[in-house]
Symmetry: C2
Subunit: 221 residues, 2 copies
Amino acid sequence: MREVFQQELAEVQSGLIAISKDVHSAITRATAAFTSSDVSLADEVIGDDLKIDEKTIHVDDLGVEILLMQSPVARDLRFIVATMRMTAALERMGDLAAHVAQLARMRYPDRSAPTDLHDHFQRVGELDVAQADRVMRLLETEDSDLIDEIIAADDAVDQIHKEVLQFLTKHEQAGDAPVAQIVDATLANRYFERFSDHAVSIARRMRYMQEGTLDEIEPGE
Amino acid sequence: MREVFQQELAEVQSGLIAISKDVHSAITRATAAFTSSDVSLADEVIGDDLKIDEKTIHVDDLGVEILLMQSPVARDLRFIVATMRMTAALERMGDLAAHVAQLARMRYPDRSAPTDLHDHFQRVGELDVAQADRVMRLLETEDSDLIDEIIAADDAVDQIHKEVLQFLTKHEQAGDAPVAQIVDATLANRYFERFSDHAVSIARRMRYMQEGTLDEIEPGE
């Protein structure tokens, strides 16, 4: 019984790691598709999102089965509870990567964002990829330093989010900027920022699992 | 023991209902603040959001305690699992109401959205208020007809979301439209649309609780 239990917990963990790898791949390709208007890459990301959704449902089901059959306590219980929130966050990160890819897809062959913002989106995309990489390593190693790193790294994402908003709203009038570009840039800015928020959410849940406390309320953004 | 258990389950349910009432109040006031640029109403909604966050953490903690002390099975287990996803959805609905209020707050005394879109936002706000009302009643009555109503009502919200996006992107150039208005309208449009998505997510979780199956993957949007 005990052995089956440990095996099931390991299966949940490897499921989470597998999803985080898919999410890392999705945001890497979505950022490339968005900044280079690569439509076939965007299609790939959009198509692959379903696999992430299916995997999260599978891990959730495993978690419910463990609750039912094993009645876990202490850290094991917190692991399952944390897992259910982490799958939701990973699933949303996959959605957001697909949303970024959709923006690249929809406006093709035009660029998805004003040229002046190209560097901003390149940078925030790289920061998101780095967050996804940390999440992957956190789920593998449970190294608590990575929790702090993920929370700290969110500030740089928020900073770029603010800069893009300021850039977009600094002009009194849009003049000859295509409105579609402003709309797309506003949405992309939001998606890139939310992606990192979910990484922070996963980091907090990991801390909850390790320490038993959820010391801070999730950020409102 | 059994009596304590039933009392704890009832406490979780009444906690969910209380949060849904707060969310209903928040989206009602946020919509009014946004469409009438009422800054003090907006401040109220933003200030009250912390209460929603605190209540969701309290209900989650109760859920974990029940898992630990009672090892629920069957419908009771599904109720607790569903609760943890429903609190997350309710918390996000509160955040989105606060985001709408923040848009009203930031651009004061200017209107937050182009005048041509005023009716659209009025209507989608009303649809969201109606969704919050259905969620409230669903949590109280567990009436499965409300599940279908919530899922069906999301289509009208998506339709307005599409119309606003089309309106915003139909002009080749923005001309004399203030860019800040386009940015705000884009964000408001997204917030109103997401609010209803979370209502659908709650409806699906309620069906999972009742029937034990989660027949559809959560919508990507």
